[in-house]
C-alpha cells in the first residue's frame, strides 16, 4: 500500500447516524474470496433501486461528488458486522479518509489496517462540514497526518487524535505482521509457560 502523509481532497456527505456495515456492503456480496472489486457494491442498496438503476438522489451517484476522497458522516459510522469488506469497498471506491463524530470500534481498526484514515472531530464541526459540502461540493479539506490536523473551509484547522503506533504504520506504511514477527522469540518464550489448551 502507499504511505499516508497529507491529503487535500473533496468530500462526499453520508448524512445519517449509525451507518452499519450491512449498508456499506450487503452480505450477499461477501461470497467472493478476494479483496478487489468491492467498490462497485459500496452502499449497493442505497445506490441502486430494485431493478439495478442508480438512484439519482444518492450522493455517490451525483456528478458533483465524483472524485471525492473523504467520506463524511455523523455518529457511529461502521457499526454492526465486523466484515473488513466494508473498508475494502470504501477504499476500492476511491476514498482515502473518513471524517465522523464517532466510529464503531472494529470498523475503525479495520480501516486503519487498510490505509483508510478515520478522523473523529467534534460534533458541531462535523455537522457544519456536512451541511457545507451538501451546499457546495467543490469544498476541499486538507489532512496533515504527521501534524494530526485537518483544515476545513469556513471553519479552520482542527487537531485530531490517533494511536501513535497506528500513525506510524500509516505514515511509514509499516506492516503489523512484520512488526509482531520481529518478536517471535518472545512469543515462543511466552508459549513455554502459558496453557492454551491445544485442540487435540
Amino acid at each position: 500500500m502507499a504511505k499516508f502523509t497529507t491529503l487535500t481532497a473533496r468530500c462526499a456527505p453520508m448524512n445519517l447516524n449509525n451507518i452499519d456495515t450491512d449498508q456499506i456492503i450487503p452480505a450477499r456480496f461477501l461470497k467472493g474470496t478476494s479483496k478487489v472489486g468491492l467498490g462497485d457494491k459500496l452502499f449497493h442498496d442505497w445506490r441502486y433501486d430494485a431493478s439495478g438503476n442508480p438512484r439519482p438522489e444518492f450522493a455517490l451517484n451525483q456528478p458533483q461528488y465524483k472524485g471525492a476522497e473523504v467520506l463524511v458522516a455523523p455518529h457511529n459510522l461502521g457499526c454492526g458486522s465486523s466484515r473488513e469488506h466494508a473498508p475494502w469497498a470504501i477504499k476500492d471506491f476511491g476514498f482515502k479518509a473518513m471524517i465522523a463524530i464517532s466510529f464503531a470500534d472494529i470498523f475503525k481498526n479495520n480501516s486503519l489496517k487498510n490505509q483508510l484514515l478515520p478522523i473523529a472531530l467534534p460534533e458541531p464541526v462535523v455537522l457544519k462540514l456536512l451541511s457545507d459540502i451538501e451546499a457546495d461540493a467543490t469544498l476541499s479539506v486538507s489532512i496533515d497526518l504527521p501534524a494530526q490536523t485537518v483544515s476545513i473551509p469556513n471553519q479552520g484547522a482542527f487537531p485530531f487524535s490517533i494511536d501513535p503506533y497506528r500513525k506510524k504504520c500509516l505514515v511509514d506504511d509499516l506492516d503489523d505482521i512484520g512488526f509482531t514477527l520481529s518478536y517471535l522469540d518472545t512469543i515462543k518464550a511466552f508459549e513455554t509457560t502459558h496453557e492454551a489448551y491445544a485442540i487435540q
Binding site: N18, T33, S82, N110, Y183, I187
Partner: protein, 473 residues
Amino acid sequence: MTNALADTPKTLYQKIWDSHVVLQKPDIPAILYIDRHLIHEVTSPQAFQGLRDRKLPMHRPDLVFGVVDHSIPTYDRSRPVEDPEAARQISQFEKNCEEFGVRYFGAHSDKQGIIHVIGPEQGLTLPGMTIVCGDSHTSTHGAFGALAFGIGTSEIEHVFATQCLLQQPSKTMEIRVEGKLSEHITAKDIILAIIGKIGIGGGTGYVLEYTGSAIRSLSMEGRMTLCNMSIEAGARAGMVAPDEVTFEYLKGKPFAPKDKAFDEAVAQWRQLTTDVGAKYDTVIELKAEDIEPMVTYGTNPGMAIGISKPLPTPDQMPTEDEKTELADALDYMKVEAAKPMAGTSVDVVFIGSCTNSRIEDLRDAAQIAKSRKVATSVRALVVPGSYNVKRQAEAEGLDKIFTDAGFEWREPGCSMCIAMNGDQIESGQLCASTSNRNFKGRQGPGGRTVLMSPAMAAAAAVTGKLVDVRKLS
C-alpha cells in the same frame, strides 16, 4: 512487582488481559496472546491468501478451529450447494483448512453448525481464554468468562502468522441486573432492554461484565444470548464470570480437559471473578422485575421497547438528527409512533441464529408452538444452531411439535439471520426474528425485521401478529 501492586483488586477483564500480555512497551499496543482462533468461510479466505502471498507458515494451527456456517444452505445436505459462489467459498474454506492443518467441521460433517454454537458445545471455548473470530458475535463466548471479540480479516491473518494481536486495553463497564425475572422473560429481553437503555454506541470502547442475581440465575444458553448481543451496544466484548453452572456445562464436552485435568482447570477457573474493591469505569443497573417481553421497532437493535409500550414519537427526540432518524425508521418499518408494537401483522417468523438457536431456545419456542398452528398467512422456520442441537431437539420430539404446527424444520446454519444462503424474506415483508440485527435489508433487500425472544417469535407465528407471549391463552 511490589506486593501492593500484586494485591490491587482486579476486574475479570483485567485478570484475563494481564495473563495474556506477551509484551508491553511504551507507545506501541500490547502484544496479546490468543488462545483460540475460530474461523468461518466468509471472512477468512483473504487471510489464508495473505499467508500464502507472504510465504509464512501458520504459527499455531493447533489453536485454530473452523466451521462453515454463513453461506451454507439449510436444505438437505446431500444435495449439492446450488449457488456457485457459495459452493466455491465453502470448498475453498475446506481446502484452506486442509492445507494449513486446521481442524474443521465441513459442509458434510455431522457436527456442523454456527461457529458461536459449535465453540461452546464442543468445549473449544473455556473460561479465562482469549478467543477471537472474524465475526462480531464472537462476544458470545464471553458467557464462559473468556475475553472474546470479533476481528477483521487483516487481524485474522495476523493471528494466523503470530497467534497474537496488537491491542490497546478497553475500559470496563459493569451491567448489574438484580432481582427475579418474571415468567417468559429471557436473556434476550434483558439484552434488548440494556441496548435500548444505553444505545447502540453506548458500549463503544468498553468490555461489558454482566453481574447480579438475575444474570447468575441464567443458564449457559441464556448467558450466551446475553453476551452475543454485547456488540449491538457497540462493546468490544461482554462477559459473565464462570461459576458452577459454567463448570457443569463444560464437563465432558469433547475438547474440554478431562478427568484430573478438568478438576485442575476448574480450580484455576474459580479465580476468574472480579475482586471485591475492583473498579469499573462505568456501572449501569437494571431491575429484573422491570423487564417485560421486548421487541425492536426500528432499524437498529437500540430501537427496542416493551411489547405493550407506545413507540416514541419523533417530536419527543432531543435533536434534529434523532427526529429524522426515528421518523425514517418508523417509515421504513411501517409502524406508527405512539402506538405499541403489539398487534402488528407478521409475514415470516425465523427462529435461529447464534443468538437463539440452542436447545433451550428451541424448547421455549416449542412450548408455545405445541398444539397450536402457524397462522395461514405466515411462513415460519426453525433453524437449529448445530447438528448436535438438531439431534437433541429431535430426541425430545421438538421437531415433531414444530412440523405439526406448520413450521419448517431446517438444517443448521446462519440462514435468515444474514440472508446469504438463499434463505431470505421478500421486500416489504415483516419478519419476527430471534436473530440479532434489524438493520435495513439484513434479512433480504427491503425486508423489515423485528427482534425478539424465541417464545415471542413462536407466539407471533401462531397468532400471525406480534403479541405478549404472557397473554397467549
